[in-house]
């Protein structure tokens, strides 16, 4: 396959970027999308140009490090698939492919296609945990958890924190990410004591980071490589309303 790539190039965080066109020939349909970029980078390196910087690590769809806007689709055209698991057989010979970084104020560009997603860590640090210092745990079977709840918690816990939800959201909102963690923890008995302080803390951190608000457009769940369901956001809203009514941000209430 021969392809034309138009890639966002931006030397550094403060620099202005632009789309640059590259021709990549002899692409095998068995290559992953990132391997196709590897091929481009090998050629750029040998021809004395700077290779394209892009984030990636496990290349098996679980670490959440890769994230590219491919022809306007977060992670590309195949549903339920991260960019690293996307293969070139999804494209056709002669195609032009636009590749851009995630775009959000909370995810500033570091270089080319690499963005800083530290805002997600801040949301987790603001409450996305259960306080259980090492050594303090009771026996694992002390508290049974209904299978349905455990399964639903797992479904939300499958989030890989890649940021595709934010990248695709017309509002640049990080609600699906926030709601996925909240849903996991609020479905489990272990998560109950901190349930309402958690939701206030995480939503506040989300808003402070500069993410947009949710209008239930549903784009996030369409592009989510792990299929996190939109109704997690309903659960977040309900907990948030309850927490606000209870004054949940205040300890002891």
């Amino acid at each position: 396959m021969n392809l034309t790539l138009r890639i966002w190039r931006q030397p550094g965080p403060e620099d202005k970027g632009r789309m640059v066109t590259y021709q990549v020939d002899d692409v095998s349909p068995d290559m992953s999308f990132l391997e196709m970029l590897d091929v481009l980078n090998e050629r750029l390196t040998l021809s004395g140009e700077e290779p394209v910087a892009f984030d990636h690590d496990c290349r098996e769809g679980i670490c959440g490090m890769c994230g590219l806007m491919i022809n306007g689709d977060a992670h590309g055209p195949q549903r339920g698939t991260t960019a690293c698991q996307l293969h070139m057989r999804q494209f056709s010979d002669g195609e032009t492919i636009d590749i851009e970084p995630w775009r959000a104020r909370a995810f500033p560009v570091i270089k080319d296609l690499v963005v800083n997603r530290g805002a997600f860590d801040k949301i987790i640090a603001a409450g996305g945990y259960i306080t259980a210092p090492t050594g303090s745990a009771p026996d694992a079977h002390a508290t049974p958890v209904a299978k349905a709840d455990a399964d639903a918690a797992f479904e939300s816990a499958a989030c890989i924190g890649c940021g595709a939800c934010v990248a695709a959201c017309p509002n640049g909102s990080g609600m699906l990410f926030t709601a996925a963690k909240l849903t996991q923890l609020s479905l489990l008995p272990q998560g109950q004591p901190e349930r309402y302080t958690r939701v206030i803390g995480m939503v506040d951190a989300h808003d402070e980071a500069g993410f947009g608000g949710c209008t239930n457009a549903g784009e996030c769940t369409v592009v989510c490589p792990k299929g996190i369901p939109l109704n997690t956001i309903g659960r977040l809203n309900r907990d948030y309303l309850t927490a606000t009514a209870k004054g949940g941000g205040t300890p002891g209430s």
């Binding site: 030397p11 550094g12 095998s28 068995d30 391997e35 196709m36 590897d38 091929v39 090998e42 750029l44 390196t45 040998l46 004395g48 290779p51 984030d55 690590d57 496990c58 290349r59 098996e60 679980i62 670490c63 959440g64 490090m65 195949q78 698991q85 057989r89 570091i110 270089k111 690499v114 530290g118 997600f120 860590d121 640090a125 996305g128 945990y129 259960i130 259980a132 210092p133 090492t134 050594g135 745990a137 009771p138 026996d139 694992a140 079977h141 508290t143 049974p144 958890v145 209904a146 299978k147 455990a150 399964d151 918690a153 797992f154 890989i160 924190g161 923890l185 489990l188 272990q190 998560g191």
Partner: protein
Amino acid sequence: MDLFTEGDPIADTKAPSGPVEARWDTRRFEAKLVNPANRRKMTVIVVGTGLAGGSAAATLAEQGYRVRSYCYQDSPRRAHSIAAQGGINAAKNYRNDGDSVHRLFYDTVKGGDFRSRESNVHRLAEVSVNIIDQCVAQGVPFAREYGGLLDTRSFGGAQVQRTFYARGQTGQQLLLGAYQALERQIGLGNVEMNARHEMLELVVVDGRARGIVVRDLVTGEISTEMADAVVLASGGYGNVFFLSTNAKGCNVTATWRAHRKGAYFANPCYTQIHPTCIPVSGDHQSKLTLMSESLRNDGRVWVPKATGDDRAPRDIPEDERDYYLERIYPAFGNLVPRDIASRAAKNVCDSGRGVGPTKLGVYLDFADAIDRLGRKAIEAKYGNLFEMYERITGEDPYQVPMRIYPAVHYTMGGLWVDYDLQSTIPGLFVIGEANFSDHGANRLGASALMQGLADGYFVLPSTIANYLASGPLEKVDASHPAAVEARADVEDRIRRLLAVDGDRTVDSFHRELGQLMWEHCGMERSEAGLRKAIDEIRALREQFWQRVRVPGDGEGLNQSLEKAGRVADFFELAELMCVDALHREESCGGHFRAEHQTPDGEAQRDDDRFAYVAAWEYTGTGEPAVLHKEDLKFEYVHPTQRSYK
């Protein structure tokens, strides 16, 4: 020139004597404690945020130490522990099927082919039960049964069901549990997190590890960070093979730099090759993807009987297929341990009967299972794996058999540590896959997660206190001559890498090195092959420093520069791996020497000569390393030859 010399033996002086069940209790009691008020004044550096590093950083911070944590990824949540699929072992005996701490201990020592320490392994088995409690309390969504209790399964040929799991994403869920505990401590200000930072040198002051030199991968800034102790939790070195199931960024740099500063490197030749990975599809291949071992429960492995049989798999009649695992190992069949399944696949491919475009693959066929159980049942069990296979290969495994081939997966070797997980440099602790301690020559399935979390949550936080309590250490800062020198070394190395400006890319060297290692230090090793490999590695390393091209500069994000530094260290490690493999004239676990096999082709250990840990001391690049032997004594589990026939 000799490839190595032999030095004094080395011994683990920290494990107490006495009954193996009581050693961990005794050690914890004898260890000195640090007054809580003093902990606030002590800084511990933790490099790596996987299961071991993440859990250690969180736990140390909970205990009141000031922790500085480093990872090269953009977030601590992305460490490669996240990719572990199968599960985590624990001797809970919830099934009442005869499991116990002693049985897990026994299985692990035996599974490690009698090349691990009994004291360490017993402690691991003891602590395993606490890990599950800890993780459940953190909200890790393990699989449960309808009664609401935890589900377990048997894994990797174990006869008891002791593996806890969260679908095929156990590593992810455990890591997120540790990550969340870590983020909590970051939020509380007890941990200073430095993501996108890479450790490039260890600072040793007066014989003690006192800090590290790191490069901020975003700004390119080099800085020296000092501390009272340094913990390396930087994972394994499987990427020396270029193609492995490791993440692209996994590297040996942190441990190798420590090795160069005096920490002994133990058993580097022990590498685990996982039998069920998706085969290489072409020269563009950048990494290999593992398919869960559980597939072998229902899939049958076969190749055509005739060499060069190019027919489509479905056109090959039953009597022209060789179900070689079932044929050679009738007792265990398709469920033989990883090392045996891997080598058998290599053997049939070497005999010219491999399948697929590259002829490096064997079929894993579900047709019988689909006939027997129905497509629905197979879908329920393996649906997500089948989908993943189809995404990557474009073939539908419900219609055509999967093609699989072994790939490098885990490295049992690592920095030598004593019972306290302290390396030969005082103040330098090594945990998780980065150390060599618990798996001997072969790791059992679902034991990596167990070891990472055991080290991080329970072992290190107890043992590091004993070291810190021996202080207070003399105050040193980044202006200490040793720190200045370490930093200058780092800067000089970066300058040299950038200055070569040759005509080959970093990846092209890495690929070539990986190919050499796979060929000669992979599933089967021989004296001639290893000697050849050592010569070629040396030549290639020289080439690297003359011909590599690293574009850009050291300021700001430069992924080529990051890779170049890692590959440079892989070159040095690769040589040591070959030397270790060459000197170990026996076959054990993940190390198979062609010269040392039973008449029917099985691994042949030589307990009289090689029941020891090989701890290597660095003397200089290309210089003969010094071998220090730690003798292994087996008081509880007596060495036997493994048999799966």
